[in-house]
Symmetry: C2
Subunit: 225 residues, 2 copies
């Protein structure tokens, strides 16, 4: 699965969040980092090929006035044209995934009914929901990064895991895919006995879980009969 | 009352809608037409003064991907800065009006639950609702222009009236202000007896309406006692 991370950030060199995200995907062959603000202009053929090659597109940006910075809109206005990337029957984008990595400086709880910002991220992202509905993109739940500057190292590690999973797992919300991701990662620490043991442990639990899920599923079929 | 019409349209010379709107406000001293896409850059002092001078700000644009074209976002990102146009206590924008003139090529009925576009304009404009809530701007209902190309002359005239009223009336939704606007306009046709008569007629109806409203209001007070 190929993932295109479309980054919209006019001052990326001053953003610790974006630097952290960029470093955390170093070495992942299936992920392309594409920073819009440094592009001089958009060549339609190259942009179309870039989109075509991706199974998943991620819009990654800091929230400026409840939207992405202007560069994402410039790209959409210039490249996402009717008959080029979509048409009445779907087109190039249909069936691909659309995900979001949205950062902001307020606590996450501010973005809800009764919170300081009054609107939820799901509401604020409505224009992108409409865009996905129009083009046949499948929406993934947004990954939000609230107050990166105040995160502990453990919180940053958890973010890194969720970010890598969003970018690489076919279904990043599925528990068993998340578990498998941990198992695969731990197995790569060849020299570490601890890593191997943890991986075995996770694998055992994963197997047990799947057996239980199968049992419950069988029981439900019995009920239905 | 001074109104600043902030126009975001990258190809305005090809837009009959925008040309029509521009012509329909020619000669209105209280209205400033400000086309973002022809600005080379934004001088912060000049932009701040422009905003300060306005009692009402109108965002006027064609709907591109369920939002304004990129130039409006460029302006907001560059000019609407914390401590410049707003702060924790409100700031420059507090108490001003924010209105919208939004054009699109689909029928108006497409923008609703169950319609082709699935989302209403009120939902699509959520980022601007959040912006207004943050800065203390008072929202006016959007003026939507659906399928301008198919409008009859009578429909265009009706649009012109609603547009001028949105830009010049202190409370453009109030029936009596709309009526007064017609009366004022008709009186200016000095040479036209018909215009005078129509104005008299409207004025009489307006007086009668206000008397009735007062009577109803008195009755309600009586009920409450």
């Amino acid at each position: 699965m190929q993932t295109l991370v479309v980054v919209s950030h006019p001052k990326i060199e001053t953003s610790n969040t974006q630097q952290f995200l960029k470093e955390s995907i170093a070495g992942l062959d299936s992920v392309t980092w594409y920073h819009l603000d440094v592009q001089a202009e958009f060549d339609l053929a190259a942009e179309t090929a870039r989109i075509q090659a991706a199974d998943r597109i991620i819009f990654q940006f800091p929230l400026y006035w409840y939207s992405a910075p202007a560069s994402l809109k410039q790209w959409l206005d210039a490249v996402w044209l009717k008959q080029v990337v979509y048409n009445e029957h779907g087109g190039l984008l249909t069936g691909k995934d659309l995900g979001f990595v949205v950062s902001f400086s307020q606590p996450a709880r501010d973005y809800q009914l009764g919170g300081r910002e009054q609107f939820s991220l799901s509401e604020i992202l409505t224009p992108y929901r409409a865009l996905a509905a129009k083009t046949g993109l499948r929406l993934l739940p947004p990954l939000t990064i609230a107050q990166f500057a105040y995160m502990t190292e453990a919180q940053q590690q958890a973010l890194l895991v969720r970010y890598q999973q969003l970018l690489t797992l076919p279904q990043p919300q599925k528990f068993n895919q998340q578990a498998q991701w941990f198992i695969d990662r731990l197995r790569t620490y060849q020299s570490s006995t601890l890593g191997e043991l943890a991986a075995d442990q996770l694998q055992d639990q994963q197997d047990a879980l799947e057996r239980l899920q199968q049992t419950i599923s069988d029981l439900k079929v019995g009920e239905a009969e």
